[in-house]
């Protein structure tokens, strides 16, 4: 993934070190790489989406977990509605 710079990277990385106010070390499942943090201010342990060496958004882990629950509930509701 890190060697594949053209793709919109869909896999987030985790901030494992805050180097200074413009740099953080990001771990992508074992591969580490510095990311520029001028556009977002992650905390240690945050998951970030990085493009072309720049962190562009912090991923909300709770929201990610919640998404699946909401979808499952929505589909259950849809299913019941269809059967009525």
């Amino acid at each position: 993934m890190v060697g594949d710079p053209d793709m919109c990277l869909a896999i987030p990385g985790q901030v494992v070190e805050l180097i200074d106010d413009k740099k953080a070390m990001v771990d992508y499942g074992g591969t580490r790489r510095e990311a520029n943090t001028i556009y977002v201010k992650p905390k240690l342990g945050d998951w970030v989406v990085v493009h072309a060496g720049f962190a562009l958004q912090i991923m909300d882990e709770e929201d990610a977990k919640e998404t699946l629950k909401l979808w499952d509930e929505a589909l259950e509701a849809f299913d019941l509605h269809q059967r009525e």
Binding site: P5, M7, C8, N36, A52, E61, L68, E76
Partner: protein, 363 residues
């Protein structure tokens, strides 16, 4: 972090729900990674089975870069500049050659991961003139802005901005009416930068259902379900189901950097005519770092060249969403990822390349 957004039960329920809505719809998305997910996980045929056709459209930055733009970079490489580019770009043909072939005949063409790599190289090699090719949509444009805004970048670096923006292209497609456009899945990572507002006119003015979606199989299936529902009810609304990454306002710092460094320009996209306001030209304030101005004389002829598409290549129609890769007679017959004829097969974000890589053996 495991998002478990591949839950088969939920996928099945969602597909059943789409089937029960009973709409026969055409959905466009504009992102190589969405296409990768659709093909790699075999979701495209599942969706087709429940009435949803889905096509990538112009969502491949390398693909939509024109032959003329590539020829301009080739011209500068021939004239001794170091061309620094993201990977796939170097394999797309200009008039006759590619940047890769110029490199094999002695040109200095380098693949970089980030605009910042160019700065490091230029500091180490002060006797050379470096040109960074800024390619990509709103996701990579802020990274080029950072380079423009950095006062400390060496004099021997300039930037060729080939950046383009997604909403004007979608407006063009909606206005052109060439395909039945029942819904749009908006690109997750472009959206993480620009937020929700720039798409809203497509729902307000064209009544198109739109979903901002992430890149897991369920993101895309749920996105299609939302579009099918809206279509059945005659609604066209913008829904964000990628809230875990996309904030309504986008990334304000990145947007401000873009506003400061770029101005919208009218620019041609491969397969399209000139699309008004769809390009990001470097603003006047930063013109000393703009390669098109720094090398204006050298490039004058290139901008007037008429560069035909490779013979038989239907990449332009793939990019407009008019045909699928399999409809091109060259697909898999001479045109393959190792021997690409057109940019849709060159780029790892191109529909043809993705289908060739995964299509026959989905995960």
């Amino acid at each position: 972090m495991d998002f478990k957004l591949r839950d088969r039960n939920i996928a099945k329920k969602a597909l059943d729900a789409i089937r029960s809505i009973g709409q026969d719809i055409m959905v466009m998305h504009v992102c190589g990674t969405h296409q990768d997910t659709l093909v790699r996980y075999g979701i495209e045929p599942m969706l087709k089975d429940v009435g949803v056709s889905i096509r990538q459209g112009p969502g491949c930055p390398v693909c939509v870069t024109t032959g003329r733009e590539i020829e301009a970079a080739i011209e500068l490489a021939r004239n001794g500049k170091v061309i620094a580019s993201f990977g796939d770009m170097v394999k797309v043909p200009g008039r006759e050659e590619t940047l890769a072939s110029v490199r094999s005949s002695g040109g200095d063409v380098r693949i970089v991961y980030s605009p910042e790599d160019v700065v490091k190289m230029a500091r180490d090699e002060t006797d050379k003139e470096f040109v960074f090719l800024g390619i990509g949509f709103e996701t990579t444009a802020p990274t080029t802005s950072a380079l423009l805004l950095d006062d400390s970048i060496p004099e021997n670096v300039s930037i060729m901005s080939y950046h383009r923006t997604v909403p004007p292209a979608l407006e063009f497609i909606a206005n052109a009416g060439e395909i039945k456009l029942d819904g749009l899945i908006e690109p997750g990572h472009v959206s993480m930068v620009i937020g929700e507002e720039p798409y809203r006119f497509l729902s307000d003015d064209f009544n198109i259902p739109q979903v901002i979606a992430g890149f897991e199989p369920l993101d895309l299936i749920m996105g299609c379900l939302e579009i099918a529902k809206q279509k059945a009810e005659g609604r066209g609304e913008l829904i964000n189901i990628y809230e875990r990454v996309v904030k309504p306002e986008g990334n304000v710092a990145a947007l401000n950097a873009m506003k400061e460094t770029f101005v919208p320009i009218d620019i041609q996209w491969r397969g399209f005519p000139v699309i008004p306001g769809s390009g990001l030209g470097i603003s006047r304030e930063f013109q000393d770092k703009d390669s098109t101005r720094r090398f204006e004389d050298e490039l004058e002829e290139v901008w007037n060249l008429d560069i035909p598409e490779p013979a038989g290549c239907r990449c332009g129609e793939v990019l407009r969403g008019l045909i699928e890769p399999m409809d091109c007679p060259l697909f898999g017959k001479g045109c393959a990822p190792n021997t690409p004829i057109g940019p849709c097969m060159v780029s790892r974000e191109g529909s043809c390349n993705i289908l060739h890589r995964w299509g026959r053996d989905p995960v």
